[in-house]
Amino acid sequence: MSNAIYRLIYISNNCMEGSNAEMQNEIQCILEFARKANSAAGISGALMFNNGCFAQVLEGPQGPLEETFERIQCDMRHDSVVVLSYEEIADRGFDNWSMAYVGYNADSLREFENIKTESGFDTDAIPAERIFEILQEHLIDAENDKLAA
């Protein structure tokens, strides 16, 4: 029970302003912090940024996961946080990643463009499992690219 692993998937709206380069820089800072803090807390996951919104998968033991999420919740760099799923899982999906990153303009991220509507998020447009799959597929692509290069 105590070593049960949970997975959290949420989306949120970016509140940072600035040029692309400044954004990339800020996201780099978030990632650096996240990777250090997450590996110390036994948390794995992936972060996506596209079309003005974030999607993040976080996996880990319940206590540290909830603590990490609470810190992320207090972050004013994003808002309109919507938790799509939070459940116990058998196996981690991002075992080797303290925080993988999937950035701009990837083809597979087109799907995300429907999620943001004028009034907020259309959470029916894209279910949590699909976000999880897309992030995983995309990381596999990135791995393959690396191997090919």
């Binding site: 949970y6 959290l8 949420y10 319940q62 996961l65 909830e66 999420f69 609470e70 919740q73 207090c74 004013m76 808002d79 946080v81 919507v82 938790v83 939070y86 459940e87 116990e88």
Partner: protein, 578 residues
């Protein structure tokens, strides 16, 4: 073990549970008197010996006993408060210096004379200011009494009510010219968390809320937990406009509305905030709390999850509400309620099929009061339950006197469904009056189906089993999805008068037709309300609407006029002059 709570609405009632987060009756923002009673500022402050100290450990404000009891020279201006203390109590110098700079609260014991000790409770108001409260230690003074004198809320580690009261008093005597705002914050839907997930999770949630709120406000704001799910934030800063208060309030509301994860559960709550700003609207520090409370009431009646600033009219409204509430309590006994009956006709043949019973309140001095004004109040205070029973009983007794083909429709409030005995009270009304169940129709509104749909569903099924029919009132104005409707045992949809009355727009026409089609589809009758003109009547009849009511047919009638109305209709058919 996981649950995604569909937390929709704060439940009514005020059961008390022995828990740390217990919401006491005086903190419930349901009814008017309790929310006025809630505001009792400066209760403990008046009894305390304190000093408010700034970031340089200089006294901002203190009461005279403070220096006298500590035996330090209040007049001497060369030395700071800390330096005076260090000089007078050299053994405690280090302890005192670190306690005054620490942002955590602490307690220090000092020996004042050979046989007298005192305790200094030091609490951080914000990153700079410290509140120092002096408490003589008397022999035989138990630990429990010291706990009562604490300045800290043990659950959240924020300040407590005593800290707030003493701070407000000290701050009031210091510098009344600074901008100050008091924000009263009350969680929305917290009771549901307690009731469904238990008090343990409720307590943990309060801790996380406290931390999140602390991060949402400014470093130099004071935050305390009053008790239950109520928090107060005091914003005092020289360089600030009330714009910065609004910013903080906005951020608080937004941040508390973000999801919480607690012990494997995802929890969605929110917060309502009432704000009183010292200045134009609120002249005295002593009024801050009461005014913030009135503003909080406003936020809650605007639908929660928002903030409001106090305005003078809120006070008058609260007084008016309280008077009205008192009168309302007596209204049944004084027989000030009456029912009027508006005819309903079947459109194709113009035959009167029954009447909708509508309540009227004739107040002894105010005259006729619209149900729009008193029903919401009665719902808020729970008096709607007895008023609702009176309406049911009276309408049934009246309807028994009518010819047997005429039915009576009675409006029912969502709050009545929250009472266990609601279904029984319908049965009782039928039994006492002797009315055939199929001649009674109850009218519900969409909001009934949204709050706790399963429980309501069961009650509606029972009502239907009795033979009573159920109509959906004011359809089109609420937010229930059309698909939802088919699950409930309804026999009629009433099209809201706003789509029928006056000049029909393209849009309202389309909506009316969609509702008529929906009725056909679901096998439910449709009745249009607010029919005023011949044209509207013909149009509705052509479009396939089944029935109508409105001024064209007749305005609501006194019970005594019904017999005449019925006999005036040739063949019971409504004559509509071209």
């Amino acid at each position: 073990m996981n649950s995604n709570l569909p937390l929709e609405k704060e439940a009514g009632g005020s059961e008390l549970h022995p828990s740390d987060n217990e919401v006491s009756a005086s903190q419930q923002h349901g009814t008017v008197p309790s929310q006025l009673a809630n505001a009792e500022p400066l209760q403990h402050g008046a009894m305390a010996t304190y000093a408010l100290v700034d970031g340089e450990a200089s006294i901002i404000s203190a009461n005279p006993e403070f220096s006298r009891l500590l035996d330090i020279d209040a007049e001497c201006s060369q030395l700071s408060f800390l330096e005076k203390l260090e000089q007078r109590y050299p053994e405690n110098a280090n302890e005192l210096a670190s306690a005054l700079s620490d942002t955590n609260s602490s307690t220090i014991e000092l020996q004042i004379t050979s046989n007298e000790h005192c305790r200094l409770n030091i609490a951080a108001i914000d990153s700079d200011r410290r509140l120092v409260v002096l408490e003589p230690i008397k022999s035989g003074h138990s630990e429990i009494e010291h706990v009562k004198l604490s300045l800290i809320d043990p659950l959240t580690q924020l300040g407590n009510r005593r800290q707030l009261d003493i701070f407000l008093e000290s701050w009031q005597s210091a510098d009344g010219k600074q901008v100050a705002a008091l924000m009263l914050m009350d969680l929305d839907r917290f009771k549901i968390v307690n009731d469904t997930l238990g008090h343990g999770i409720g307590d943990t949630l309060l801790k996380v809320v406290a931390q999140r709120a602390r991060r949402a406000i400014r470093d130099d704001d004071l935050i305390v937990r009053l008790g239950g799910d109520e928090f107060v934030i005091v914003h005092t800063n020289k360089d600030q406009s009330s714009g910065s208060v609004e910013k903080v309030a906005k951020r608080l509301v937004e941040m508390i509305s973000r999801p919480f994860l607690v012990d494997g559960h995802q929890i969605g709550i929110g917060t309502s905030v009432g704000i009183a700003v010292l200045g134009d609207e609120t002249k005295n520090v002593a009024d801050l709390m009461r005014h913030a409370d009135l503003a909080l009431y406003e936020s809650k009646s605007k639908g929660r999850g928002t903030y409001s600033f106090f305005e003078q009219t809120m006070e008058q409204n609260a007084l008016r509400r309280r008077d009205l509430e008192t009168s309302l309590r007596r209204a049944i006994g004084l027989k000030q309620f009456s029912l009027v009956y508006q005819p309903q006709v079947q459109l194709s043949q113009g035959v009167v099929t029954g009447f909708e019973a509508l309540i009227r309140w004739n107040h002894e001095t105010l005259g006729l009061i619209s149900p729009m004004d008193f029903i919401p109040l009665a719902e808020e205070t729970g008096q709607i339950v007895s008023i609702g029973e009176w309406v049911l009983n009276t309408a049934c007794k009246e309807a028994v006197k009518w010819p047997e083909h005429l039915n009576v429709a009675v409006n029912v409030s969502p709050v009545q469904f929250e009472s266990e005995s609601f279904v029984n009270s319908i049965q009782d009304a039928l039994t006492i009056s002797g009315l055939q169940p199929n001649r009674l129709e109850i009218e519900i509104t969409e909001s009934v189906l949204i709050n706790n749909p399963e429980a309501v569903f069961k009650q509606l099924e029972k009502i239907k089993e009795m033979g009573v029919s159920i109509a959906m009132d004011d359809f089109g104005t609420g937010y229930s999805s059309l698909s939802n409707l088919s699950n409930f045992p309804l026999s009629k949809i009433k099209i809201d008068q706003s789509f029928v009355r006056g000049e029909q727009t393209e849009k309202s026409r389309a909506l009316v037709n969609a509702i008529i089609a929906l009725g056909v589809n679901l096998g439910m009758d449709t009745l249009a309300e607010g029919v005023e003109t011949q044209d509207q009547y013909m149009q509705l009849a052509n479009d396939g609407c089944k029935a109508a009511q409105g001024y064209l047919i007749s305005k609501p009638l006194q019970a005594a006029s019904i017999e005449k109305f019925i006999s005036d209709q040739s063949f019971n058919s409504v004559k509509i002059d071209p």
